[in-house]
């Protein structure tokens, strides 16, 4: 019982209480509201606000555990199933992507699962790449049009597919990468930082390597992120894990922190142009914060293999989207219907669920 009055459960409880009071107040106000023709009824308005919050909460739980931004889930689904303008969806998607990362920052930093030095090191590179990418997007839009974007998306899809396959066959080497030689530059950076791994009940000190190469990779990720306006968690995690040998759980935690940090740069152009509409975005933000906080508390306790399967699933789904979009832009195939996207999502995540159950039963 005392646990409920100590951080982090205290703030979770305060937020839940305010949330419940707000929901009840909104229900009472909207139920008695008299609306004019052409206006939305009070009940419908309450339904949308509460529905957005609930959906956002669910997305945040999955996104934080998978070490990706919720925008990767939010944006394709909103674009596929609602008539909302794509710029408003993209802008709100960025709020979704960044706030689950922001709220998970506190627990990850305190517990040492995330590493601020790695995050700042990567964010410095990510910022440069993303800014250059945004300029590149303007150039390509003006000079190469659909063909250029289609080719780059295809290339990105192929890279992502290769990484997902590598993750599948990589096994424990990826969860806990082995470092044979630490180069001079990485040693000089002093990026390593031991932390207590709850699931193993021991302190993990992880040596790192190839930090110079990770700068180049993160600039590349930033370029693509800035170019397409995509979240970048799906690429930041493997970039740290495969190149710099950051343990997978640490890379996933760093990714959330980095998304929160980096998107503080990316979100302002949308805010300044009015694409983020306060009352529309607010329930998504609230859901991300509550879901993200609970997700972060769970992630600290789960074993790395669980995260790995989720991540592989997300990577394959993102890969399918990129390849079909690329082929569509080149005029090779038509638009992919929403039901097919949904079917692929269900098939992939049925496989993910099966793998997680198998992993949990094996106790490895």
């Amino acid at each position: 019982m005392q646990k409920l009055f100590r951080s982090p459960w205290l703030e979770v409880n305060v937020m839940l209480t305010v949330m419940i009071i707000s929901c009840v107040a909104l229900a009472l106000i909207t139920a008695s509201a008299e609306t004019q023709p052409g206006e939305m009824s009070g009940g419908a308005l309450w339904g949308w606000l509460f529905g957005f919050f609930f959906l956002s909460f669910a997305i945040a739980l999955v996104a934080v555990i998978g070490g990706i931004g919720g925008g990767v889930l939010f944006t394709p689904f909103m674009l596929a199933f609602t008539p909302v303008d794509s710029l408003i969806v993209r802008a709100t998607g960025l709020i979704v992507a960044m706030f689950s990362g922001l709220i998970s920052t506190g627990p990850f930093m305190k517990g040492g699962l995330a590493n601020l030095r790695i995050c700042v090191f990567c964010a410095a590179a990510y910022g440069v790449g993303a800014f250059a990418g945004a300029q590149g997007a303007i150039y390509v839009a003006e000079h190469l049009g659909q063909t250029g974007e289609g080719l780059v998306r295809l290339a990105l899809g192929v890279i992502l597919f290769s990484l997902a396959v590598y993750f599948l066959v990589g096994g424990k080497k990826i969860e806990w990468p082995e470092v044979k030689k630490v180069d001079g530059f990485t040693q000089w950076l002093k990026l390593s930082q031991p932390y207590y791994e709850v699931s193993l009940n021991k302190v993990i000190d992880y040596p790192l390597t190839r930090a110079g190469w990770v700068v180049l990779a993160i600039i590349g990720v930033g370029l693509l992120s800035g170019f397409f306006g995509l979240g970048a968690g799906w690429a930041i995690v493997p970039a740290q894990n495969v190149i710099m040998a950051v343990p997978l759980k640490v890379a996933a935690a760093n990714s959330g922190v980095l998304l929160g940090m980096g998107d503080c740069i990316g979100v302002w152009p949308y805010l300044l142009m009015g694409a983020i509409i306060p009352i529309f975005a607010a329930p998504w933000l609230v859901g991300q914060v509550l879901g993200g906080l609970l997700g972060a508390l769970i992630l600290i306790r789960v074993k790395a293999g669980f995260v790995r399967y989720l991540l592989i699933g997300f990577m394959f789904f993102a890969c399918f989207g990129l390849l079909t979009k690329g082929l569509g832009m080149l005029g090779i195939i038509g638009a992919v219907p929403a039901w097919l996207n949904g079917l692929i999502f269900i098939v992939i995540f049925a496989g993910v669920t099966r793998s997680i159950i198998k992993f949990t039963r094996s106790g490895s």
Partner: protein, 142 residues
Amino acid sequence: MNVPEMPQMPRAQTIYGAIVYWVTILSCLICMIGPVISVASPDNNVLDPYKLFNAIFEGKDAETVWEEVGGDFPGGHFYLKHLTYGDGFTQLGLALGCSVALWALIAAAISYAADKIYFYTALSLWVAGLVALSMVGIVGMH
């Protein structure tokens, strides 16, 4: 079960985490209360919430939504002039959350500087500078 001795986290890291965490929670609480104020007094808004959602679900772009529902877009920092408005108060919560990395990175940079870790001081200030420039509309990622 024996619990091993916990490693000490660097001061800059815990400061960064704490600032981001509490400011994000504050921003979330503001965004919980804002819509209630907004719906309770629809006239006390830049955008009337009862008209707003219809316009959004009709697929109108952001510029049209602001024009048709609110007259005109008053600028991203409109909360500074309309703090008592429901959506103005909500926008304050959004702006606070979207600028949190700036405040936290400045504090982390000070902490790194105090510990004489100058490389990470410079990197923190570099990223904080990017956020600041983005807030005033000079740098945009997407």
